[in-house]
Symmetry: C2
Subunit: 560 residues, 2 copies
Amino acid sequence: MNSEKPKNILFIMFDQLRFDYLSCAGHPFLETPNIDKIAEKGVRFSRCYVQSPICGASRMSFYTGRYVDSHGAAWNNFPLKVGELTLGDHLRKIGVQSWLVGKTHMQADVEGMERLGLDPDSIIGARVSDCGFDVFERDDGLWAQGPDGYYDEKRSPYNEFLKQKGYKGENPWHAHANSGVDEQGNIKSGWWLNNAGLPANINEEDSETPYLTNRAIEFLNKMQDEKSGSWMCHLSYIKPHWPYIVPAPYHNMYGQNQVLAAVRSDYELENTHPVYKQFIDNKVGKAFQREEVRRSVIPAYMGLVKQCDDQLGRLFSHMEKTGQMENTMIIITSDHGDYLGDHHLGEKGMLHEPSVKIPLIIYDPSPDADASRGSQCDELVESIDLAPTFLDFFGANIPDHILEGRSLNQLIHNQKPEIWRDFAVSEYNYSTTPMAAKLELAPRDARLFMICDKNWKLIHAEGGFRPMLFDLKNDPDELKDLGDDSSYSSVIDSMYNHLAQWSRRQSQRTTISDEKILQARSKRKRTGVLLGVYDENEVPLDQRQVYQGKADIRLEQDED
Amino acid sequence: MNSEKPKNILFIMFDQLRFDYLSCAGHPFLETPNIDKIAEKGVRFSRCYVQSPICGASRMSFYTGRYVDSHGAAWNNFPLKVGELTLGDHLRKIGVQSWLVGKTHMQADVEGMERLGLDPDSIIGARVSDCGFDVFERDDGLWAQGPDGYYDEKRSPYNEFLKQKGYKGENPWHAHANSGVDEQGNIKSGWWLNNAGLPANINEEDSETPYLTNRAIEFLNKMQDEKSGSWMCHLSYIKPHWPYIVPAPYHNMYGQNQVLAAVRSDYELENTHPVYKQFIDNKVGKAFQREEVRRSVIPAYMGLVKQCDDQLGRLFSHMEKTGQMENTMIIITSDHGDYLGDHHLGEKGMLHEPSVKIPLIIYDPSPDADASRGSQCDELVESIDLAPTFLDFFGANIPDHILEGRSLNQLIHNQKPEIWRDFAVSEYNYSTTPMAAKLELAPRDARLFMICDKNWKLIHAEGGFRPMLFDLKNDPDELKDLGDDSSYSSVIDSMYNHLAQWSRRQSQRTTISDEKILQARSKRKRTGVLLGVYDENEVPLDQRQVYQGKADIRLEQDED
């Protein structure tokens, strides 16, 4: 590794990319050679879990390095509280810049900022508003529009780009990038899943993934021109997230004969857990139970993934040309998965593997990582592990009284850590959904917790329900819920004990480090507080130094 | 109640005042007629628990209305993180001033304030630094001094007062207010417990409790002169907290024959829980196991309490003269108790009743409270209940997504609430102490949790220890630890289940109220996100309104 060059991190995230829709992860039809190439140069993690299978909450965990229950931004557009520290805060502290190119789904805590008098237009205020990043480009890619206005009121750089390019309409993001065009030239909305197979109404090079790739290349050139110091760049794509539609030639690159069968069984529809039942019966679940929906959507989804891979190919060859591969750590991951009809469900939210497990590939240019190149790691890994991994990459101390994840560096360097986590945890808050209303649950009871090890996955639902339990060893497809089977009560008890231990973790003592606490133990400041001394003669004279009259005390503090 | 006058709250806290050292609570020798008078006009709670039996952590729970594990300021001088909302924030929001006269033990999150660019000298910065209060007087009353300087580096208004009065020495707080004088006129430090019986080296009217009472009267007069609107004033005394020494005539008002026998048994020294054993063996524990220590300290402690009661008498008669009794809610409580030798322990920290249970008396001037005057309430109450009670008193909504306590108003108004808490929880973090070092515990494992109902108290210790269990019905003195008795395993399991439920509580989703979540359920904004629709014909035409060409969407959002 060239020591003259500063080390950088390119933290690439896709949105709603399933862990198994990559050729390096074993997909039989989908070819992703550019992502595979990074896997060959790095480590691919086969069991990485997000902290919540929903954009906003999951991302806040990536960006804070903390569990959802610790940072509190439990669903889309729940503001991240003003006091929470982010990756950007930790990196700036060690002199590393933290840049955003793309999506965060961050909702600023406007009320909290007002309370503390933080101006959103100040540098600090802008960083707090953007989850600790300095913004090269922020585009959350959700420019949907209805009678009550836009889903996202922010300015859309991408829509402005399309208008400059001459695309017509008030919202070309929808009418062009996310609508199809049929053979008669009629524009068909990408919201209708039966249009998924049409080519998007846009030139491929103007669609969202190439657009953001261009912006990323502009960023890389800018940083190289400026000879800036070390940076971490979060390159965050909206795709293959819905609307499921992709421009030619990707729209018909994959055929219905390449649509994998849905992983589901009728058994799942018997004695179904009441919360799971709500997901099965919701609009998206019902839609993806229809084979015509899967056959329409999945080829488009595969095309979107293929386009993502091609664009990473462009990006990586630019980095190779400009000599940035040898000093840049590259992460490829996603904020959650997509059921695509598995388990009778669509989208995400429930806690089966297709929803909660994500791809994670890490390429570390350091020689230390040579031993592990091209390998697969099957340890239990969580999305919150990236923040400490980044600090470790830059040789910084990891504030583990704030960051709840663990550095992956040893795993990346093929050194088996002495102790690794035995359990992964994910959470889902469905309190705002009609499902919670149908179950008549109070907001705080509309919460799911997943805890799994390599053999078992338990899903706990607040609100007085039985748990769900899956035998991951013998039923890796999670088709048989054992949560109602009394013969597994000891397994359930032990999983609940681990969940209880996790729930008691100390997550809020963020203003005092373990290091400071250990220092306080070993060397207590002598500031005159003396407890439990009956007679001054119990204290050595040389320490006592009681001045006559003033009676000032000069002794070891003892605050036991 | 005079409707012309604004409603106010006088929130009086003593430091280290045991729940049972009041005549209204049944102490056989100690007379506290002025406190008793408030009990006769209000409600006395017989089972109020602090969230942690240590000044700093307990107070942060009083002032935030949140459990220690939720606000994170788990021990003395652990800074309260900058984002935490305080009683002052909630009250100011409804136009009620929040004033401090006395002690808070608040440690500002200086690093967090710097990170957010908060100037401690700005109004907002000063409030954040002082736990949300506007400061009439801040005096934490801990002006101990040693080779490494003062325990508390802040300016001491009380020491300045003493110097103005002509008291000599660099630190008259110690040499006069907290030292004794023997018959030969020698000054004897109050740190030595064998000096506890001497009269303090100061005129009674210049000692700490009268001094702060004077400041409180000045505050009341100021607010009356200014005809200010509603306010909450936290009048926070340092006494009867150590050093255990009191001026004449209180120093010999109580005799050794009035020292109650220590509540302890040799049984407690057999098969002792390893963590409890550390408390028994620490310096303070060993001291208070000596009868001479108890006989020296307890009469002084009783004298300090008596002085506190006399000073409240002065304060209340001033309030009666100035007509402030009829519009002021009065709270009398403490931040934790004092073992005074019970259970072979001194001070506080462990989780037996003398440490974790506090006096709580609430006088509500409203006619609604007439039905309950002079009554005793035996419900399980926690210190975090005061914050919501105050908001309720002012008729404000209670943000129960932030405040974890429950309003006591129904109990104060003698209306039995339909649902009340079944369990009280307290925590103790001893990670900085030599006890944790002796047990070789990591900081996060040096934590205790108490959960109790009216029949049982379980104490869980992190770090792989067995629990402690007490049968409060049959062993109210907590002399027999049943935590190692397998015949109680079902009780232990059920208490652990309740602790697990408490640990999973949602404590950090503070930026979105339950109300907003329920609104989102019932009326979702129509912003054009449409999931799970295969064919536009599945949507009523009148809703569809797909404009030809532009394909703009005008439909119900459905984000299930």
